[in-house]
């Protein structure tokens, strides 16, 4: 309650949205995360299907690989829940302003490696679009709640990867992080929704 009170008090001063409108925005965004969660699972499955073994084997667990600009949601659940609503929103916004550029880079690489995989290309495009949508919603909510936005994103995976294997591996990590962030955003918006009921 204290956390929400602080947000509300700072919100009312900084935006014209009424509390009803903020709650509606949060509900819409939560629905978007449901879609994102489902689609990100599908995307990861479709992605590994086209990279060949061992990517496509269920027990493929490569060591984590840092993806430039995209933090992994490595904050353990308890610590994540202990964060303030504003801090959580900030982390989500940072991830979702970066993901579209990364997914765009993966799409470029896959168009080269898997030119026939039109369904994978379509899902990558849709994922980038959904991430942009979620980033926009998050920005709206943060503005309404008076939470400062994240820094501008570093747009993509950098230049073309030095090899086909690294292209496959970095693409795999982006898709996996996309799924992890979708699960985390779904959880965070669910929490926010309980605090801002309609």
């Amino acid at each position: 309650p204290v956390d929400r009170a602080n947000l509300l008090s700072s919100a009312s001063s900084s935006s014209s949205l009424s509390q009803q409108e903020v709650a509606t925005k949060i509900k819409q965004t939560h629905r978007l995360t449901v879609l994102l969660k489902h689609c990100s699972e599908q995307l990861l499955a479709e992605y590994v299907r086209h990279q060949g073994e061992p990517f496509s084997s269920p027990d493929f667990q490569p060591p984590a690989m840092a993806v430039p600009g995209l933090p992994s949601p490595s904050v353990p659940p308890e610590a994540w829940l202990a964060l303030s609503d504003g801090k959580r929103l900030w982390h989500l916004a940072a991830a979702y302003t970066t993901l579209p550029g990364l997914l765009g880079s993966v799409l470029q690489q896959q168009a080269e490696l898997n030119p026939l995989a039109s369904e994978l290309h379509r899902q990558l495009e849709a994922a980038a679009r959904q991430c942009r949508g979620l980033a926009g919603n998050l920005e709206g909510i943060m503005g309404a709640l008076g939470v400062p936005g994240p820094p501008p994103p570093s747009s993509s995976l950098g230049g073309p990867p030095p090899s086909a294997f690294l292209a496959k591996l970095s693409g795999y990590h982006v898709c996996r992080l996309h799924r992890d962030w979708a699960m985390r955003s779904h959880e965070a918006l669910g929490l926010l929704r309980t605090k801002y009921p309609l």
Binding site: H50, Q51, G52, E53, P54, F55, S57, P62, P63, Q110, A111, E112, L113, N114, P115, L116, A117, P162, S163, A164, F165, K168, L169
Partner: protein, 416 residues
């Protein structure tokens, strides 16, 4: 008969012919083809006449050694000799040490003949001499289906290989050096579009890999056909034949070369499309075109040829803007448009006239024009009769192919 022996060791008891120690001028490597290139001076000017010389080239790699014999002819002058050798494993996998020695088979020399000293060793310094980061080689190689390929994994000090997989299969590890292990894969199958993955799992917790693209050389382009639709361009189409399993930057590239004008066109083909085609400009005063379609990819090339007389390969576009009209009870006026420049030829057009109980075809010949409308009149129609008309055309003098039929147009003649 005299020869000057500059490398003769003047051993009073028995003269011995020992060639000068050769000097390697250059040792270089082409990693993409696993080939070493050696260059040295044969010091032929030491002798006044032609002599047979034998060389031994020793290559030390992977803690084993390979000795190769090579013969040449000394010609009384210094000659630079070139020789190359292709390894069965990527050059990056281990260091290569090369040295060379010489033996002169002087038939008229009655004394003992011995090999020269070995030349100083030359090395192609490689990544396995303390690689700065783990890597797997070869990187993104393209090979033919059925090839045998060796992959090596280079890793830093303090690391070791847990396993190396080709696709989903684990292979026995071959130790190349302290920082390099390899696997040998036999008779590889065609890979998926994104290539077969080779994984090197390292202890404590690292993963490196590479991708192998396995496919076929291009097939001979099949059913090559070239025709003109507009007398502006000639369109050649063909069937690529057996798929190569290689895509995008490894896909088959096609070049259409015309021998008479010596002009060539790089064809843009859509690898997702079964049928390929390519446009070549019609030249003002050229009738005969001698085409060669070249297909090439990283694994090989193939070609097909076709000689045509462009006037005999006219395949008109579908007649467009087809209209029918009448102001009488027994005839009708037809008009249609065909794109293209047919000034030099006559056209043959076939008009189909059908009604509920009959169908007849009328052939009309007319002068060709440029991007023009064409007209015809159909007579002997019945008064107040309802007819459906459509038209198709072809070259008149040398028939090659009809165009498609135009759309059908219905008309009712006036009452008598």
């Amino acid at each position: 008969f005299s020869w000057e022996v500059s490398c003769l060791r003047n051993d009073k008891s028995q003269p011995t012919l020992i060639p000068l120690t050769p000097q390697i001028l250059n040792l270089s490597a082409d990693f993409s083809t696993y080939t070493l290139y050696l260059k040295w001076n044969d010091s032929g000017s030491v002798f006044q006449h032609e002599l047979d010389a034998s060389w031994q080239i020793q290559i030390l790699y992977k803690e084993t050694m390979e000795t190769i014999n090579y013969d040449s002819k000394l010609t009384g002058k210094d000659s630079i000799l070139f020789w190359n050798w292709t390894s069965d494993i990527p050059l990056e996998c281990t260091s290569y040490y090369v040295k060379i020695r010489c033996y002169i088979n002087e038939l008229y020399f009655t004394g003992r003949k011995e090999w020269s000293e070995w030349s100083p060793v030359r090395t192609v310094p490689e990544k396995d001499t303390k690689p700065n980061s783990a890597m797997v080689f070869p990187q993104d190689k393209v090979v033919l289906v059925g090839s045998n390929v060796t992959f090596c994994c280079l890793y830093n000090e303090g690391k070791s290989v847990k396993f190396m997989n080709y696709g989903s299969e684990s292979y026995p590890l071959l130790r190349l050096s302290k920082w390099s292990s390899a696997i040998k894969v036999q008779n590889v199958n065609a890979s998926i579009p994104s290539g077969t993955n080779i994984l090197c799992s390292l202890v404590p917790d690292d993963l490196e890999g590479t991708v192998l693209f396995v496919g076929y050389a291009p097939d001979t382009p099949q059913n090559l056909n070239c025709e003109t639709r507009t007398f502006i361009t000639i369109t050649c189409s063909w069937n690529p034949g057996r798929p190569t399993a290689l895509y995008t930057k490894r896909q088959t590239k096609y070049i259409l070369f015309e021998r008479i004008s010596r002009e060539k066109v790089t064809c843009k083909v859509d690898e997702l499309n079964e049928k390929h085609h390519c446009d070549f400009p019609v030249h003002a005063n050229q009738k005969i075109y001698n085409f060669t379609l070249g297909a090439s990819n990283p694994l090989g090339q193939a070609e097909s040829s076709l000689l045509i007389d462009v006037n005999q390969r006219v395949h008109l576009e579908t007649p467009d803007k087809f209209t029918v009209s009448t102001n009488s009870s027994t005839n009708a006026h037809l008009s249609w448009y065909i794109p293209g420049n047919f000034i030099k030829i006559r056209l043959l057009c076939q008009i189909e006239i059908s009604n509920s109980n009959s169908e007849r075809q009328l052939n009309v010949s007319m002068a060709g024009a440029e991007n023009s409308n064409y007209r015809a009149r159909v007579d002997a129609l019945h008064p107040y009769g309802t007819y459906t008309f459509r038209v198709r055309c072809s070259a008149s003098e040398y028939f090659w192919r009809w165009s498609k039929w135009s759309e059908g147009k219905k008309l009712t003649t006036l009452e008598a």
